[in-house]
């Protein structure tokens, strides 16, 4: 097994006036390092398209993950999909990206815009072989993966963005490639890259997409461990044990909480120096301890990180905030959402008597819930999470 992993993010814009999306992305994991991703675009829009694309993506992802040949998958779909009464056909286009052991990508494409591969920030065309199945032309490719490869899967809503409005012929694939090349080496997550692409589509559509528009981005990257310490241990005799376990871990170290950072500072024998800057008036300042990558206040900062995490999983609108700001919450968000793939939480269960004041919106239960909710969100982002309580 190599040290690579896949960061996968997708989002859809609904056709203007529709309540359901006719595009669908389905992801099935096979063990630790193999994944099947299917992007299906159902014929038409609304309920009908939604059913077609849901059936297609579910059937294909399940069958491919079970190791069944693409020929069988396609014939199953042809035999299963309900036939559209208006057009007399049963039809959903699809793109399959199968990551095998995070070494090889198998790409199978049927009628969606061709998958874009950006390698080290530059667009690369990859060879395809053509096969005909039941009158359908299907393209298949095998690519060996490299770190920093970015795959962009799209529905045709992307390349049709702005047709007859901002642009004569829509936003052509070549234009999308040069647009996305500029963002590919910034270090944005797959989800953020997808959001940037869709925001531009939405702009070209004048805020009223003429078709369901979906982008799914897959970034191949190295695994990156990260450790976060939050709260003093419930038994103060465990301080040294907790600190030595925390600091012995590979990867960057984040310490959250006033008392917690004082303990860390004593353990390391390095002074704790708070910074007197308020880049975000809501968030208390960060501090510095030599040997620790980031030191922040506890509950208020972590609450904001959780807000960012929930938004990231939904519309991802607040990345425009946390992706550049310098307050503690934005810094943690960047380290956890963008940099890290494997996160170890070291959570102390000590109850801060000063926080058990009913006039304050922070208490022990809120703190414990914060950790649970945040680790759930991070799991949904595809991170591996371990939580250790002390």
């Amino acid at each position: 097994m190599n040290n690579l992993c896949a960061d996968i993010g997708y989002r859809s814009l609904f056709k203007h006036g529709e309540e359901l999306c006719g595009d669908r992305v389905e992801i099935v994991e096979q063990g630790d390092s193999s994944t099947v991703i299917v992007l299906a675009d159902g014929l038409g829009s609304g309920v009908k398209a939604n059913i077609l694309s849901t059936l297609t993506s579910r059937i294909i992802s399940t069958m491919v993950a079970a190791g069944i040949s693409i020929e069988d998958c396609v014939s199953t779909i042809a035999a299963t999909l309900p036939v559209c009464s208006v057009r007399g056909v049963a039809y959903s286009t699809f793109t399959i990206l199968r990551l095998i052991e995070n070494r090889t990508a198998e790409i199978i494409q049927y009628d969606n815009p061709r998958v874009i591969l950006l390698r080290d920030g530059k667009h690369v065309e990859f060879p395809v072989s053509e096969m005909k199945l039941g009158g359908k032309v299907i393209y298949r490719s095998l690519i060996s993966l490299q770190e920093n490869d970015i795959f962009i899967l799209m529905s045709d809503g992307c390349i049709h963005a702005g047709v007859g409005m901002a642009l004569n012929f829509g936003w052509e694939r070549a234009d999308i490639i040069s647009f996305m090349e500029t963002f590919s080496e910034v270090g944005f997550t797959a989800k953020t890259l997808g959001t940037i692409l869709l925001d531009e589509c939405n702009r070209l559509y004048g805020g009223k997409p003429g078709d369901d528009t979906t982008a799914c981005v897959v970034r191949i990257r190295k695994r990156e461990p990260m450790n976060l310490l939050f709260g003093p241990p419930s038994d103060r005799n465990d301080c040294n044990k907790m600190m030595s376990l925390f600091f012995s871990k590979e990867g960057k170290h984040i310490v959250c909480g006033g008392t917690t950072s004082t303990i860390a500072s004593n353990y390391l024998g390095k002074p704790l120096i708070p910074k007197m800057e308020f880049p975000d008036p809501e968030i208390p300042p960060i501090a510095e301890i030599e040997g620790i990558d980031l030191v922040t206040e506890g509950v208020i900062t972590m609450s904001k990180v959780l807000t960012y995490a929930k938004d990231y999983l939904a519309d991802n609108e607040s990345y425009t905030q946390w992706s550049y700001k310098k307050d503690g919450a934005s810094l943690i968000a960047r380290m956890l959402f963008e940099e890290a793939t494997d996160i170890n939480f070291f959570v102390g269960r000590a109850i801060n008597p000063a926080h058990q004041n009913p006039n304050l919106p922070i208490n022990f239960n809120i703190k414990m819930r914060l950790v649970e909710e945040l680790s759930d969100c991070l799991k949904k982002m595809g991170k591996r999470i371990k939580v250790n309580y002390f």
């Binding site: 004082t262 708070p274 308020f278 208390p284 501090a287 208020i300 000063a354």
Partner: protein, 81 residues
């Protein structure tokens, strides 16, 4: 003279940012940057009486409303002449 303002969770919620910013402003306005050192600290264990502020060795309790009179009576007067 050293003023240390608590910027821990509890004091932050009670207005330590306003106090820090007002003190920075007052110190600059009166040209006391060389006489007065303004610093921050995480929790001082005195959250119930926040916002906790240390004036050299003396522990005080301030609020955004009392910061101006604190500056006048304790900081400005002590650094005159």
């Amino acid at each position: 003279m050293k003023i240390t303002v608590c910027i821990g969770s509890s004091c932050h919620l009670k207005g330590s940012r306003q106090i820090v910013e007002r003190l920075q402003e007052l110190i600059a306005k009166n040209g006391l940057q060389d006489q007065v050192e303004l610093a921050g600290t995480f929790c001082m264990g005195n959250c119930q009486n926040g916002v906790s502020v240390m004036l050299d060795e003396e522990l005080l309790s301030l609020s955004p409303e009392t910061v101006d009179s604190f500056f006048e009576t304790r900081v400005f007067s002590a650094n005159q002449g």
